[in-house]
Amino acid sequence: MLSDAQLIIRGLPWTVALTVSAFVIGAILGLPIMMARRSRFFPVKATAVAFITFVRSIPTLVWLFVIFFGLGSGYIQFSPFTAAVIGLSVIASANMAEIYRGGLLSIHHGQWDAAAALDLGRVNTFRDVIWPQTFRVALPSAATYAVGLLKDSSVASVIGVAEISYRGYQLSQITYRGLDVFGIVAAIYIVIGLPIAWLSRVADSHLRAKVAH
């Protein structure tokens, strides 16, 4: 049992690297996508809506297959890890854009009025008034999404990234002790997911107090 756990845990750096890089890239790219989604210029808005809709309506596994096997067979060859980071980042950026948009919609319109009354420019209004509050409101959803992304990273095992699900699968095929092996893998996901959820609750109660209503 102990050796099973030790073998599986060796995949943990890959799981963490995959989740963190996809989340960071998604959180950065999500902002311009959200702004494009809110653009008044129709072609920009339509492109953003189409991007978000398409990305979210196709399963993660299919994205990873298209990038790894599809593009890989004749276009651009990626390593499994690169392909997984690209796929998960694209999906994360679309989802983060929607999370930011949800946060933005909850900001009281008085905040825009006040910024206009102070004669702040568009950039200052967004950067100094709206965004800090949006970030605080969006944080719990973003944390929930980060846990979702952690679980989604298991799909990368299918294209051969040696993270914990992949090691669990290999081990189960050698030892025929699938119950122990996948029980351990499941426990690792739950144990990593819990502190993220707990931290988000703590951060939420601290930050929410700083949002004007």
Partner: protein
């Protein structure tokens, strides 16, 4: 890369057969997972600590574990204790657990959203606890939960793609198989993606419309 309409049309019947299997697995998950979710939602708020703890454990494991691991646990894990399931049964069993865990939270939110006065009124007219639940609380709670439940149905439909890992011959397994045989991975995988989108996008639009419609009549 062969994107010609003739080739695509040649693949389509086989892929549509796979899509049909994906939809059947989705239906199975809803048929078994939704009642499970209802039971779990009620058990989590039960007065018996044992029942509460057991149902909470089922919910947290179902929500905290990736769908892929649930599938592999059931398909590759249960044979260890002498329980070997076919790929369809394993797929539906594993994803029904996931469905039950997530829908129990949705239904619980629905139950909590029913105004307290409804319960008081039901007690006042002398309904017993079962009838209170059956005729007063549940009909209102489920109505509140409908948009979120439908939204989850679309997610579980996308989740059936994970059944590739336990070789259920559903849409993405078949697309991969065609890719491996013809080496036309890119066109066939893109086509499979489009077929998923062809279900998910209208599905989300319908859910959005229902949500807006129900929002208009929501009781406050």
């Amino acid at each position: 890369m062969d994107f010609s309409p003739e080739t695509m049309a040649g693949w389509l019947p086989y892929l549509l057969g796979g899509l049909w299997i994906s939809l059947k697995v989705t239906a199975g998950c809803i048929v078994f997972g939704l009642p499970l979710g209802l039971v779990l939602a009620l058990a989590v708020s039960s007065r018996s600590p044992l029942l509460r703890l057991a149902s909470l454990a089922l919910v947290e494991i179902g929500r905290g574990t990736p769908g892929l691991i649930m599938l592999e646990f059931v398909y590759y894990g249960l044979p260890q204790i002498g329980l070997t399931l076919g790929t369809y049964v394993a797929a539906i069993a594993a994803l029904s657990w996931t469905t039950g865990a997530y829908t129990s939270e949705i239904i619980r939110a629905g139950l909590e959203a029913v105004p307290f006065g409804q319960r008081q009124a039901a007690i006042a007219i002398g309904l017993n606890p079962l009838d209170r639940l059956r005729f007063v609380i549940l009909p209102q709670a489920l109505r509140i939960a409908v948009p979120a439940l439908l939204g989850f149905a679309i997610l579980i439909f996308q989740g059936t793609s994970l059944c590739y890992a336990i070789s259920t011959p559903e849409l993405i397994s078949r697309a991969y198989e065609i890719g491996a045989n013809t080496f036309q991975y890119f066109p066939v995988l893109v086509l499979a993606g489009m077929l998923y989108a062809a279900i998910s996008i209208p599905g989300s639009l319908i859910v959005g419309a229902i949500e807006r419609r129900m929002g208009r009549h929501a009781m406050r």
